[in-house]
């Protein structure tokens, strides 16, 4: 996942292609979820969908969260992130999160959906759009990652929600991604692919020497503007028993510009559709 090399246009296209595939998997599995299906079954469907389309490895195994687990309620230990036998019921929100690796290219996406009607879910999804806008603007403005994290927190509190990405290990709202170069076998440890972990730990060491981090949180180490490269950004907001997120790649260029890798994604289409009809 080295981000040191600046990615060229051809490579960006490959990243975009895999991100499209991952969202396609999540959306197709999400729309097919029926009452009574478990988180484990949903996660397996995503895995099968992607493996059938050439995915060889994972940054992390597919996750599926149903009901109030979408808001990580009562999560105390990381093991609780793994899919359980919780069953989906009418009106329940869900989140599907997967990070496939194909030919060294990585995608890491999050897809929020709901089985049937849920007013809280719809409201949260509408409000989530503001974060996509806010984050890219603040990165372009050259603000530090820590300040952007604070700005996201301020918006969450203004909207009356709570910050759920703080439940992720390291409280991260984003992490860097890049091509995986590794000779290690494809093997999973604690839900993460060891090839990806090798790259991540390598990055952690290199970045630490520059007093930076490939993990974007609200600590002192994030007190710098975004490092050029690709960031998988995953703002996750919650209200009562419902949580929603998106996760997609933000490209930061060497001259400090930033843009989302792809705008043709399910949640973006939802928001642009709403704006168009408004």
């Amino acid at each position: 996942m080295s981000h040191s090399a600046v990615v060229d246009a051809a490579e960006l296209a490959r990243f975009r292609e895999l991100q499209q595939l991952a969202y396609e998997a999540a959306q197709s599995v999400g729309e097919g979820l029926e009452p009574g299906v478990t988180e484990r079954q949903a996660a397996r469907r995503i895995r099968e969908y992607l493996v059938a389309r050439g995915v060889q490895d994972w940054f992390h195994t597919p996750f599926a969260w149903f009901g109030d687990r979408t808001a990580f309620r009562r999560f105390k230990v990381p093991l609780q992130f793994f899919p359980t036998n919780r069953r989906l019921a009418e009106g329940m929100p869900f989140i599907l999160d997967c990070a496939p690796v194909r030919d060294g290219y990585v995608a890491d996406i999050g897809y929020a959906g709901c089985l049937g009607e849920n007013r809280v879910f719809e409201r949260l999804m509408d409000d989530l759009g503001a974060y996509r806008q806010l984050i890219v603007e603040q990165v372009r403005a050259g603000n530090t990652l820590r300040d952007i994290y604070g700005a996201v927190d301020a918006l969450i509190s203004e909207q009356g929600y709570d910050n759920r990405h703080q439940v992720y290990p390291g409280r991260v709202i984003a992490h860097q991604v890049g091509k995986v170069h590794s000779r290690l076998p494809t093997f999973m440890v604690g839900g993460f692919g060891i090839r990806s972990l090798q790259t991540l730990f390598g990055d952690l060491l290199v970045e630490r020497m520059h007093h930076r981090s490939p993990l974007w949180a609200d600590g002192e180490i994030s007190n710098h503007p975004a490092t050029p490269g690709m960031w998988a950004v995953e703002p996750h907001i919650g209200f009562r028993g419902v949580g929603v997120k998106f996760e997609e790649i933000l490209v930061v260029t060497t001259d400090g510009d930033a843009y989302w890798l792809d705008d043709d994604l399910p949640h973006v289409r939802r928001w642009s559709g709403k704006v168009a009809t408004a």
């Binding site: 809280v120 409201r123 009356g160 009562r240």
Partner: protein, 581 residues
């Protein structure tokens, strides 16, 4: 008023009074013992503006004839009298019954019997049970005793002792003639603060003849109660300070009355006399519901049975509802079914809270108001009353923080913090307590103070002063409003992580220093990590239990205990400057 005589089935002539337009829905009001139709004068004056109101003197009372034999006072005969009156005054449309005390006992007999089926549209009962229900109630307390049920039983037996006395020969008559009993009744009536200084003296003849009511019915009905169901809409007004009929006896009747509403009204036994406005309003609400399907919120709230959220159909007003504890309190109440009025100085924030509350519960209303502006608060309270009704719960939550040395706290700083933290609460209490008292159905006021109210600190002289003033104000008001059934609670949060730290003014510092202190305080509160939703849960519990003082965080509780056990230690600790940063 039109008066006339109607002849009962056994030839007894009953004096009947009619008021209002005969084309309006008819309300028949039945008085109790030892009263006559005059007990309804206050309520009749108001009700007659919209309804055809009929009162009559029960046999043996007022201007009606008094048969001499005891058997003429049996409940079946009294039911028959009511039926004759209803037939005369409203031959075509069913009537709405309003009854008090013994009138209620008769009316219950009528609405649970067959004779008047289809002739009664609704029944509002004040301080009178169905004797058969009461018989079952006494028996069930004995059959399945529990500490609570036994306490209720003993309470009611103490209240009902006079009934046994009335069964004795001659002594009750003697008590009447010696004026002992009338004087006792006057004393009991004066226990209700709403009573007149000199309550109306019952007439000797009403008192003496009415004894037959007890002697002809009590033993038979209580000794051998039957299963009697009421199939019409019924509302029970149960005065909380009734010396004769305990609320438990009046209200534990849902198994016989499927369409039941119960309203506990602060007051004594003679509600029609002391609070005719409350009786009038409650009665009209039920009549309007039955006639036109307009169900007022208080009526919905009084509904018994069915699975309903804890705060269903309550109106809750919260100030400072745009963020922090205020917003979370609004959401917690909404989640339990309450209708929220979210007030905040920041219109956008108030609107956002109302929107979120509406996602969890009924539609909520935002309102932009600065609590320190007395006139604006008066307007706000009037607006709430006219648009939504009198609130059941008011949470005076808005507050700001000021910290720093006394000498550097300017007069403006003092004025601002006193205006918001103390005057804001005073304005909120003034505006809404008056509404609640007038409504006469109780309510709850929660004033959000702070642990600083009892924990002195060298850096919080201004803030802590306002908060301890709020605590004292609440405690005084609690004592004053108790007799109106309005509870006043103080909650003292402690370190709850809200945006108050980011907005606290640290006096004597430049802008950078301010910001640094604010950030440090915010970091400390965040590390403490006591979230405002937990504080909101405590506020809900405070409202439900009418607790006088609720410290919220553990450190607020510990501080409260220490302030009572070792005030000297806290005074010493107050010298430390604990401001972070």
């Amino acid at each position: 008023m039109r008066t006339r005589q109607i002849t009962a089935s056994d030839g007894v002539r009953l004096a009947v009074q009619e008021h209002g337009d005969r084309t309006n829905p008819t309300i028949v009001a039945v008085h109790g013992y030892p009263d006559d139709h005059v007990v309804w004068d206050g309520a009749v004056a108001a009700l007659a503006e919209r309804y055809h109101v009929v009162t009559y003197d029960v046999r043996g009372a007022g201007h009606s004839e008094a048969p001499t034999q005891r058997s003429a006072y049996g409940l079946d005969q009294l039911e028959c009298d009511l039926a004759v009156v209803v037939e005369e005054v409203s031959p075509y449309a069913p009537v709405h019954l309003l009854a008090h005390d013994w009138g209620s006992i008769q009316a219950w007999h009528a609405v649970t019997g067959d004779r008047m089926r289809g002739r009664i549209a609704s029944f509002t009962s004040v301080s009178g049970p169905c004797l058969d229900h009461a018989g079952h109630w006494f028996r069930s307390r004995l059959r399945r005793p529990s500490p609570k049920r036994l306490r209720e039983l003993v309470t009611q037996l103490a209240c009902s002792g006079y009934i046994g006395f009335f069964q004795l020969p001659l002594l009750p008559e003697l008590a009447w003639r010696s004026r002992l009993l009338p004087r006792l009744l006057g004393t009991l009536e004066r226990l209700d603060p709403a009573a007149a200084a000199q309550p109306a003296r019952p007439s000797l003849s009403d008192g003496l003849r009415g004894l037959a009511l007890y002697r002809a019915n009590m033993l038979a009905r209580l000794g051998g109660p039957r299963e009697r169901r009421a199939d019409i809409p019924v509302q029970v007004l149960a005065p909380t300070g009734d010396p004769f009929v305990s609320p438990a006896l009046q209200t534990d009747i849902a198994r016989w009355v499927p369409d039941l509403r119960i309203r506990r009204v602060p007051g004594g036994h003679w509600l029609p006399r002391t609070r005719p406005d409350v009786v009038t309003r409650c009665t009209s609400e039920l009549v309007e519901d039955v006639e036109h399907g307009r169900q007022a919120r208080p009526l919905r709230r009084a509904r018994v049975g069915g699975k309903r959220p804890r705060c269903a159909d309550q109106l809750v007003v919260i100030t400072g509802a745009g963020s922090g504890i205020g917003r979370e309190t609004a959401l917690a109440f909404a989640e339990q079914g309450a209708e929220i009025v979210a007030a905040d100085r920041d219109q956008t924030a108030a609107a956002r809270t109302a929107e979120l509350a509406g996602l969890l519960g009924p539609q909520a209303t935002p309102y932009a108001v600065d609590v320190s502006d007395g006139a604006a608060m008066e307007d706000f309270a009037k607006h709430v009353q006219t648009e939504l009704g009198v609130p059941d719960v008011v949470v005076n939550n808005a507050g700001i923080g000021v910290a720093g040395p006394f000498a550097e706290t300017s007069v403006e700083d003092w004025q601002r913090v006193i205006d918001v933290n103390l005057w804001g609460v005073i304005h909120g209490c003034r505006a809404f307590a008056a509404q609640m008292t007038d409504r006469g159905e109780g309510g709850q006021i929660v004033n959000v103070a702070s642990a600083a109210a009892y924990l002195p600190s060298r850096t919080l002289s201004a803030y802590a002063t306002t908060k301890s003033a709020v605590l004292t104000l609440s405690q005084c008001l609690r004592a004053e409003l108790a007799s109106s059934g309005i509870g006043v609670s103080t909650v003292c949060p402690g370190f709850v992580h809200t945006n108050i730290t980011a907005r606290t003014r640290f006096v004597g510092l430049n802008d950078d220093g301010q910001q640094q202190r604010q950030q440090a305080a915010t970091r400390m509160y965040r590390r403490r990590n006591f979230t405002p939703d937990r504080a909101a849960r405590e506020i809900l519990r405070t409202v439900e239990t009418n607790a006088a003082l609720t410290p919220i965080t553990p450190e607020a509780t510990a501080g409260l205990v220490l302030s009572r056990l070792t005030p000297g230690l806290l005074r010493a600790a107050a010298r430390a400057d604990l401001t972070p940063g």
